[in-house]
Symmetry: C2
Subunit: 329 residues, 2 copies
């Protein structure tokens, strides 16, 4: 029997502050960016791109961190493990996490800058991300808090961590610790290009450790190298206990134990910025799931949380999601 856990979810991911500006499609083309994707950039490119960007706002982000904040906002117990630097943006990231009610377990890397993501939001509300990892890439060089991992019902990993060898090692080690403690492991595939670059390693991890998989359509079809979403759903259903697969405005499907549940996307007045939509979907699902809701109900909470986030700029909720949830019930 598994010991009771202090945290519903422990999220492991890149600690990132988002720098968000509007941009035209022409700017993306001129800068050679793939719309909707994430690419890693170095210091020089980060400086050059920032110089070319419109006025921006700074707001804490990071995929798994956004998910942890979403769970806390819904009323769940969430913790986050990441790595920042001893600088202004590191303090911003830490403050926002703690103020959101997340148990922040942040390492501080010396001689580094806190990671940031230069995000361009086009008029269609799509976000295109350029990530300078900085200190976030050094997470794997810090000792893992094993007790914390054992003390969470679910370990949630972002696929973005597959960007550096030491982070991959940390992620694998964390998954092993969780499994040995009888905990469940959830993984978000994060990005289509990450999937293409790390397909074999991701498949290995999924086969060995993952119970709950989150992915959008481009990611899951990239993983299984198929042009068919339905085909990808079938594959995912064979490899994990629960697969939550999203299709933007097309809603999502949850494949679990041979059954397929369809969740419509919650209707939204105006989509402003899709940054964080997948992160908050995962937050909603994991909150519902750890509260003992049905998969259908968990999927509906997921859609509700995703809807809140795409209605404004930035990847973190502007209102207490628990209040939205209460209003729904």
């Amino acid at each position: 029997m598994t010991a009771s856990a202090r945290y519903d979810v422990l999220a492991l991911g890149h600690a990132i502050v988002d720098v968000i500006a509007h941009a035209e499609d022409a700017f993306l083309a001129e800068q050679g960016m793939t719309k909707g994707g994430m690419q890693l950039i170095d210091t020089g490119r980060a400086r050059d791109l920032y110089d070319r960007m419109e006025p921006a706002i700074e707001v804490s982000g990071g995929s798994a961190a956004n998910t942890a904040v979403g769970i806390a906002s819904l009323g769940g117990q969430a913790a986050f493990v990441g790595c920042v630097a001893d600088d202004e943006l590191g303090r911003v990231f830490s403050h926002d996490l703690i103020a959101s009610g997340v148990q922040a377990n942040l390492a501080t890397a010396p001689d580094a800058a806190t990671g940031r993501c230069l995000i361009l939001v086009t008029p269609d509300a799509e976000r295109t991300m350029n990530t300078y990892l900085g200190a976030a890439s050094l997470l794997g060089e810090q000792p893992l808090n094993e007790a914390l991992i054992r003390d969470a019902s679910i370990l949630y990993l972002e696929g973005y961590l597959f960007s550096s060898p030491s982070n991959i090692a940390a992620l694998r080690q964390a998954a092993e610790i969780a499994k040995q403690a009888g905990r469940q492991v959830a993984l978000s595939l994060s990005d289509r290009f990450c999937v293409e670059a790390q397909r074999a390693a991701l498949k290995d991890l999924i086969r060995q450790s993952v119970d709950i998989l989150f992915a959008n359509e481009p990611e899951i079809t990239a993983l299984y190298e198929t042009g068919s979403f339905d085909d990808a759903v079938l594959h995912a259903g064979q490899h994990v206990a629960i697969a939550c697969l999203t299709r933007g405005a097309g809603g999502s499907v949850i494949k679990a134990n041979g059954t397929l549940i369809r969740i419509p996307a919650a209707s939204v007045e105006r989509v402003v910025d899709t940054t964080g939509a997948g992160d908050l979907y995962a937050a909603g699902f994991l909150y519902g799931y750890t509260q003992g809701m049905t998969l259908q109900q968990s999927g509906e909470v997921a859609a509700l949380a995703a809807r809140e986030i795409i209605g404004h700029v930035g990847p973190r909720p502007e209102v207490k999601l628990s209040e939205l949830l209460a209003a729904l019930a």
Copy 2:
């Protein structure tokens, strides 16, 4: 005859990054804050208050800087003089100013942190400000760019600068240079408590140098120590060529050369955050005025710019104001 000017407006003020969070009225009371006001805070208080605040967003601010950005957004030529530090927030401030099309003339103070304003937005959309000046307070210790002042039709000063002796000296010197070059001087009273603390010095400056005065009702009645707005309007009309006096949802009046023009507030669907409303009103008026519009027209542009800013979080326009203006015409 006055030489033609490269800039419509040169703004002199505190270089500040805003840190904006939601807060309940009870929090303001508990923290001993006066709602709607601005108070200066030191390093320790800034740290303590930040720790107690909700998750925040960071966005460039500073009263006169917001006005400069508004003028540029409307299509005018604006410059800004201020002082930052060599840190992340300094780079954020500089980037946002330049990306907004403002000619940024920023000094960098060593051994200081860039100024920041911890802003609490209550459910009624009122903003309450706690300013840690940092490097912004060292503006007066940097050499003034005299040529730049002579090259602007209007020198715009924020009353907030009356917070340190060296900044007051710099402001007075700048006003003298502008007058000697045959330029006009505009002043915003900035804050009711600033006015009460510096009434005599402000009156001196107004008498000696100010052509265009911006103030809201609490500020102008505090300046003339009267409970009557109409009374304050009369006083202002005797001391400056143009007085632009705002009353929030009650619109504004422009008193100039013995005539009184009433400008209704532009209607707004939902007031989200009033931060920057006065700054953008000044931007709209000064843009219209320097473009040769009538006072009535300039006041209408002012109301339009203020309306844009109160419809979202943050003190800088989210859309090109020139496009809003074109849509109006």
